[in-house]
Symmetry: C2
Subunit: 191 residues, 2 copies
């Protein structure tokens, strides 16, 4: 029995690939072990268990998403930045149907990389909203609004929740355009 030479990173990375292929709910330790060419209990040498794997996968996916959001916004501002970031967000969700839902897990305080990834993702959104002059409580509200809109849209889209034939790309761009208008005259009370 030659050793395969796994470590936590290879296991989590393969879990991410598998999740994208078969869907997050179908990501099972059994399937992952078979994919990696080891017996199921061997995975426990690298990951504490199924829940811990899900958490590490969340950290990985959140970090990836944060990086894509950041790099989409770099060098742009205002409407331009918002559109680029929104497109990057949806692209990631569509390209990674298994990883994306994993990003919804709340960062584990015991995993610094996970926490940092979450902060980076929210920070990227915050930065774009700064370009609209939004700060303080207004920025918090606007960040929540933008996250809600983007997350809600891609979730409903992925779930097949949009039944009508109307072009989904176009609906998304309309949504982003409407958020752009909202941010220009954010209805905050100012505090």
């Amino acid at each position: 029995m030659p050793r395969v030479g796994l470590n936590q990173q290879t296991v989590v990375r393969e879990a991410a690939r598998l999740a994208d292929e078969v869907g997050l709910p179908q990501l099972t330790l059994a399937a992952l072990a078979s994919r990696l060419g080891v017996a199921l209990p061997s995975l426990y040498k690298h990951v504490r268990g199924a829940d811990a794997l899900a958490q590490k996968l969340a950290a990985l996916a959140t970090a990836e998403l944060a990086t894509e959001l950041t790099s989409a916004a770099v060098g742009r501002s205002g409407t331009d930045a918002l559109r680029a970031m929104a497109d990057a967000y949806r692209d990631y969700a569509l390209r990674h149907p298994g990883r994306y839902p994993a990003t919804q897990r709340v960062p584990d305080p015991a995993d610094p990389e996970h926490v940092e990834a979450g902060e980076r993702a929210v920070g990227a959104i915050f930065a774009v909203l700064r370009g609209y002059g939004l700060t303080g409580d207004d920025a918090v509200d606007a960040t929540r609004a933008l996250r809600s809109a983007l997350h809600g849209f891609v979730t409903l889209e992925a779930a097949g929740g949009f039944g009508l034939p109307r072009d989904v790309d176009r609906s998304y761009h309309q949504l982003v355009a409407s958020m752009d208008i909202s941010f220009r005259s954010w209805p905050g009370t100012g505090g």
Copy 2:
């Protein structure tokens, strides 16, 4: 062994109650059977299996949500209707943490009541948007935007995704206010 006298409706209703108490993922046939005072396989006399139960629960919850949305909007229009409906939406999600995620399941074409419930829910939103003068493709886009925003918000809220101390109620109202503004000058190309 006295008969308990179950039928599909009592089973599904109890499943809904249980889901709200313990969370949708923890709604298990074993827990439900024990709650109803029967052995687990007895449930199969009333429901085809775990997946069919989830579908019936989705139909129930979707119908309830549709009813609440409709009754919130009745007798109102414009901003007033939008606010009332948005509040009803979030109230339902918060009061029914197990039922609400069940509503995200795509209606089963083989279950007319489920399909009808889904149409009723979307129809309620459509009706409110008609009050903003939105019709045709614009109404489709706006409906998707509103669903995305509301669903995204309550999902993130329920998942504990809003870490900062800023009042969540207020953020929600800001989101709804911004959607209201957007709908007044919907950025559609006109079709």
